[in-house]
Symmetry: C2
Subunit: 622 residues, 2 copies
């Protein structure tokens, strides 16, 4: 082993510790101790193990690094400072308004692979990237640095199971076992053997190491790249606060920066603990190990030509969930970037139609929605276009991952089937009734809820073209009639006016399954000589304010909305917001009783969102 | 072994299979094959292993049974049919409108321990019940029947870790390893050894058994009750669809009922496969093993006397999160039923104040929010009153469990700290900005967002008195001024009018941190001779429509709402809904840009929700 290299790595670890003390001290907050435990690991990663081009972060063959323990962000910034991509001045902007060096990494920082900070997220992103590497036939490794506290998060074990299932030997996780959580010792404390046993049992290759021994770390990181057929986890025994006596291995210092009046003392202790590194004479000339070009790599494009129109028969019955599967398969033929992730319900969501056509781009994620969404973030970062589908209700399981995906500016396409009480007999646990509320409150999100096969088909293409964030499509279990011509266009932020006249006394706004109830209500109202406008609000966010306002105004400023979703945060309240300050009279029909098992039509009636309820409400307000 | 007993147990398994075929066939849907794999296990549970009084479900010493694989609900109903608590006619109402025998169990069924159907939930509930048994010094065992597919859910591994941590030897999980999921073979397929290894590694005691061998099952269930210091998992190798040749061990039959025209054939196959059971002569006289009374059991009461007023100093600075901790500690002294569950952030949420006072009723759940909420459901079912706290943002991790808790009519108190951008430098990953939207869309929920210590304190008591469902309290990181007298009353569904006059030109409605911005804005507006009413909307759901309408009407029908939360589904849209059709002019100030790290005041300004933004908006609309 090159002695100069070892001294250099110790020096770099020392420097990262320095920054991890100084930057938070300057900011007045930050997680210094969580950085100090992992500084040696980070030195090895950035200056020894990883093959990457620091000058070109986007080199597709670079090894990737994900800081799952996002609170240790100063360490990430320190690494890039020591690599030479940040200045001292940059470092001192940590946590300040306008700086890209935020408290927890976001995508604003150009060298962050992912936004992290909600714990137990990074490994799923890593599984996505490692699987993507294999799909793209690229040789890069994905490294994920995790804290020990976060291993109690179930999402971690979802990722562990998937990583083993796909035998991702290009995925290397490191657990910084510093024993101390935020407020108490961790679940396993310093029982490193327990981690080894659990990972081994899940069919990972676990390697144990003293996380502060540079020589041992070099060996174990070398070894990690030699393991085949299994993902690798490096269990690194460390001490929280390592190197600063006043903090080291002590409780009560999580998330604490060194006070300015103790900074000198802390830095002195650091230098005393690492005298050689502190006095390092910079003799070793480090150059990054640039990655080799993967010889048979595939590079996919996200752009694609306009898709051909579908071939649905007007008035035929097609579940929108099936149209989704058909559209996705067609999209996949048009665009190589498209992949499909399924949570073991492909025969319900109809993702199986995509799988049949594009088996190599379909990834079974089993019943583990959190990890599935996390994997999607990873695929997106490597330029794939993930369509992630499960029951709409079960996206609630991955709400935090979706929230973090938005913070990380990920472009995910989420497709939730089995919307609303109209699924019928399976009962409330399977009904998505809060998904619109959840998805609307995601920054930059799009929320779509088509009623028929044509609009679903067309909107899948629109989702793929949406590059600003998360697009959610809500599909229906039941077969519904095709009501649009195959050449009809649908856009994000659009709506369709299905009925209108010069004598409308009310405008009924619906989407998905309730649109058909609205159309039935229209006929019933016609029989009573009550004209009504009908709007298909297939795009709930953003929504077409202009058209809605125009039609409502013509319809005597009376509106009834009807949706198969709870009232709060749903379609009705979105419409109400759009119509604020216009003086309209509005009534919102929505699911307002805890649903039960029954036939779809019985449940629509039970919840007061069927044609008869619409008619009654219309008569009340006109 | 009593031969008559064995034949009897085989007969009961046969009967349960019969019902699991017949009831779904009658309903036209249902998960017959998932029942057939577990029928022998269920026979052992209900007629051999469990000590319970079928006539008195609420006997607190009964062993408890949780059907985590909720889609196998016909099996649960069959068990209670065979125990004698349901009639044949009841069984034929399965999945029909109005029946309590729903597609997946809900609490409407009087013998369901929990609503299940979102997979990977039952074990967490079981951990809660088992831990509660220990707290209550009761000797009952908690049995949880899981499917093999659901073991990929991370929540399961959260529960596994916690169960081992608390050495819950009164918790017995059974995994029905029938190899087939909904659409594909499961992750581990029939590799039962893998389950054994993983559970062993997590420090459970794993027992392997042929899940169709009654004799072996009897032995293994006997053994399970003898294990000490560890929770037990019984890994039962089974076949999906066991007993009906047309289904057995075949893909494509998940969630399928036997068509009516094939029912005779299916029942014939069943009888052929279990000839002895089919011809059983009913010689064995079964009596339930009634539970023994736990000699030193504690019985807690949920009711409690009115709490004494707090002793906060007017104008002193107290973070509402701290007031929550103080109130909870005081509540704990008043009411023995109160327990506290923490996700390893007790020093941030101030649950540590409760822990200090009531260490035996504080349960550390580590960073595993899904399991924590699931445990809360279990504690509630055993009559404890759980207060569950973590960062508000991280309740999104447990959204599905909260959704299911509501379906199961659980009375949970959730307390989310670190609301909004006002937390400052930690950045967006730590900010709760969608929690109001999420919690409002939970049926029967209450959403509270107090601004000062007194109101927080008082509302904690109100939450404890709320028996209809889930109560959510949102707390603030920063210390805010005490603005109420200690004897002020606060009620669910109330609000406080802090300023009003006869010349108000606008009503400003705020809660939590933004209330202080509203009060600053009030002063600034006063300087410009603009009178404004100010409402503290501490109860966002339900909200005090009457007062709001009255004050707004007096304030020239102009409203500005301001909240530290995203617009969608937040306070503003709740107010807007309450004020529908009243012709008011309303403007909603909310977080509308992806936040970043910065100082609280900088971020409030950045998002346009500070006093100056309020003043500007007021001037725009008056």
């Amino acid at each position: 082993m090159h002695n100069g290299l070892k001294a250099f790595l110790e020096f770099k670890a020392y420097r990262m510790r320095y920054w991890s003390i100084v930057a938070p001290s300057e900011a007045g907050s930050g997680h210094t101790t969580s950085c100090l435990s992992a500084a040696d690991i980070m030195s090895i990663l950035f200056f020894y193990a990883m093959q990457y081009d620091p000058q070109h972060y986007d080199n597709p063959d670079n090894d990737r690094f994900i800081l799952s323990k996002g609170h240790a962000s100063p360490l990430l910034y320190s690494a890039w400072r020591e690599v030479g991509m940040l200045s001292d001045k940059d470092m001192m902007t940590y946590r300040k308004m306008g700086s890209v060096l935020e408290g927890h990494p976001t995508l604003r920082f150009p060298y962050a692979e992912a936004a992290t900070g909600a714990l137990g997220l990074g490994l799923s992103i890593g599984v996505g990237e490692a699987l993507c590497a294999r799909s793209d036939r690229r040789n890069y490794y994905t490294y994920v640095l995790m804290g020990d506290s976060e291993t109690t998060e179930g999402a971690v074990w979802e990722a562990v199971q998937l990583g083993a299932h796909y035998k991702l030997d290009n995925l290397i996780a490191i657990i910084d076992v510093n024993r101390l959580g935020q407020s108490t010792p961790t679940l396993f404390e310093d029982n490193v053997q327990r981690y080894v046993e659990v990972f081994d049992a899940f069919n990972w290759h676990a390697l144990l190491v003293d996380g502060h021994n540079i020589e041992q770390l070099m060996k174990v990181f070398d070894k990690a790249r030699e393991i085949t057929k299994k993902p690798v986890v490096i269990i690194a025994k460390t001490f929280k606060g390592r190197g600063v006596n006043m903090l080291e291995d002590k409780e009560g210092y999580h998330g604490k920066a060194i006070a300015k009046d103790k900074l000198d003392e802390a830095l002195k202790q650091l230098a005393n603990n690492f005298p050689q590194a502190a006095a390092y004479n910079r003799t070793y000339s480090w150059t990054p190990k640039l990655p080799e070009k993967s010889p048979t790599a595939i590079t996919v494009e996200r752009s694609f030509a306009k898709m051909a129109d579908p071939l649905y028969q007007r008035d035929s019955l097609v579940p929108t969930r099936k149209a989704y599967g058909q559209a996705l398969a067609a999209l996949g033929s048009t665009c190589d970037a498209v992949i499909s992730l399924d949570a073991e319900v492909k025969n319900s969501t109809y993702a199986e139609i995509f799988e049949e056509k594009h088996p190599n781009r379909f990834f079974q994620c089993f019943i583990a929605e959190q990890n599935m969404v996390g994997m999607g973030i990873g695929f997106d970062r490597r330029n794939r276009m993930p369509f992630i589908s499960t029951f709409g209700a079960f996206f609630s399981r991955a709400h935090d991952q979706i929230r973090m995906a938005a913070i990380g500016q990920a472009r995910l396409n989420l497709v939730g089937s089995h919307a609303g009480v109209s699924i019928g007999q399976d009962g409330p646990s399977q009904m998505a009734l809060e998904d619109i509320a959840m998805m609307r409150a995601i920054p930059e999100s799009v929320v779509l809820y088509p009623s028929d096969a044509v609009s679903t088909y067309k909107l899948v293409e629109q989702m793929a073209r949406y590059e600003e964030g998360i697009a959610y499509l809500r599909t229906t279990r039941a077969a519904t009639a095709v009501i649009y011509d195959n050449n009809e266009d649908f856009i994000i932020g659009g709506c369709k006016v299905l009925q209108q006249s010069d004598h409308d006394r009310v405008c009924i706004i619906a989407a998905g399954i309730t649109l058909f109830e609205a159309l039935k209500a229209y006929k019933l109202l016609q029989q009573e000589k009550i004209d009504a406008a009908i709007i298909d609000l297939y795009s709930i966010k953003p929504l077409d304010e202009t058209t809605i306002k125009k039609i409502v105004k013509k319809a005597n400023n009376k509106v009834v909305t009807v949706e198969d979703h709870y009232l709060e945060g749903g379609l009705g309240q979105a419409v109400m917001y759009a119509l604020r300050n216009t003086g309209v009279t509005i009534a919102c029909l929505a699911v307002d009783k805890l649903p039960r098992s029954g036939k779809p039509e019985e449940l629509l009636a039970y919840e007061g969102i069927d044609a008869s309820a619409i008619v009654q409400k219309v008569k009340e307000i006109i």
